[in-house]
């Protein structure tokens, strides 16, 4: 299973293994990573699973849909090039070793 490292909203590192097909948001919720709220449960409706993806993995991510783009505009922490909603990124083998940073605010 691909290995993912979360850096939670307090700056603590958590290394976890996630099954293929799970989303970054689900992985965070299941492992109780601080800072991911995921209020809408993965429906791309709330922007509370905002995270920053390590730069070297950006081109390995699934393309961003318009809905996610719109939601990210409403995110609380600043949106950057590395911003994605965790519920819209599914784990693939290409993402093995990924580091995901959780902002301080959702």
């Amino acid at each position: 299973m691909p290995q993912i490292t979360y850096i939670d909203s307090d700056g603590n590192k958590h290394q976890v293994e996630l099954p293929l097909g799970a989303t970054i948001m689900e992985g965070a919720v299941q492992n109780d990573i601080k800072g991911i709220i995921a209020e809408c449960g993965g429906s791309c409706m709330c922007a509370t699973c905002h995270c920053y993806i390590a730069e070297d993995y950006l081109d390995k991510l699934p393309e961003m849909e318009e809905e996610e783009d719109e939601m990210l505009e409403g995110a609380v922490a600043p949106r950057t090039e590395r911003s994605r909603l965790g519920c819209q990124v599914r784990i693939s083998n290409a993402l093995d070793g990924l580091v995901v940073e959780i902002p301080q605010e959702q």
């Binding site: 709220i37 809408c40 449960g41 409706m45 939601m71 505009e73 409403g74 995110a75």
Partner: protein, 395 residues
Amino acid sequence: METITEQKFQFNPYSPIMDSDPFPFYKTLRDQYPCFWSDDVNMWILSRYDDIKRAGVEWETFSSSQGNLVDELPGRSGSTLGTTDPPRHDRLRKLIQSAFAKNNLMHLMDPTKELVTEVLDRVLEMGSFDFVQDFSSQITVGTLFAMMGLPDEDHHEVRRNVILSIQSDQETRQKGPEHIAGFKFLTNYVEDIVRQRRAGPKDDLISRLILAEIDGDKLEEAEIIMTSATIILAGVESLSSFLSMMAYNMATFPDARRRIAADVSLMPKAIEETLRFNTSAQRFKRVLTKDLEMHGQQMKKGDFVMLCYGSANRDERFFRNPDVYDLERNTRGHLGFGGGVHLCLGNMFARMITTIAMGEFFTKIPEYYISVEELNWNPSTTFRSPVKLPLTIGK
């Protein structure tokens, strides 16, 4: 010889006791009848956390297309966010969502603070006051009108009709003529505003709905009107009731109140715990799109299902000591704003206004008590809130 049989359990959302204290009924439902058919309201009742959460995610089975209010208002089904399913729901929501995103609400913060100060000054002078009339509804009507660009002089009339719209008749077990008339007033009111905005669009939500297109089609007139009326309904009543529930809780739990008064940075925790403990939106409705078995009960396609969010938030299978109001609790996963695709559109708006309004309220009024023995609760199958919350400042 006849034997005395155990009285049959009933779940009647039209009874006044359900308005004042539904929680013991919820517990019986969760423990003994997790999938219960209620003859009183002619629908299935779901009450456990996992089931409600599931219904929110599985929108294809638990459809909102035939209304989401337990007693639906005429014309809403299929024309608002809460009463449509994806994909149309998602497109409609996208049009409206950005207006409710946190960074687009920041401009409301300063006017809200000013309004809160002004309203609080009046309340402080009164000493004894009705929190609903004199505080919470003043704040929510004021901020919502500012957000939607509606004229101030209409505050009173709009609020009066909003209250009527959310009520149901306890005798006839449906919306009465006065409730329908209240909602009719609101839709006519919005219709007028829509006409004005068509003639001269402004930079506001209603103008945006008029100009918007989904897949090349303009929104239907009914969608614009019903969606706007629902936003007014929720913004005025749900939010005002939420503030009232928070004031009520803090009258009941003075230790928590004093902690917040001494440190307003606890407000976010207090808000989440209040959303879990007894938020105003208690129950919503769905219709099944296929046969479904749950907890040994066979439900049929076309059956209505009531989702008791207020019960899910007290489910001991999910929250430890759920009947205790605990500022230190991890509230993650609570369903105070619902969940899934229909998660409350105004959740950021509500949190922001509540943080400002109640933070200031507790700071200026750290000591108060409820001045009556018993509260009167709104007769509503969906919402729970006191008609009046008479408070007196002091110990």
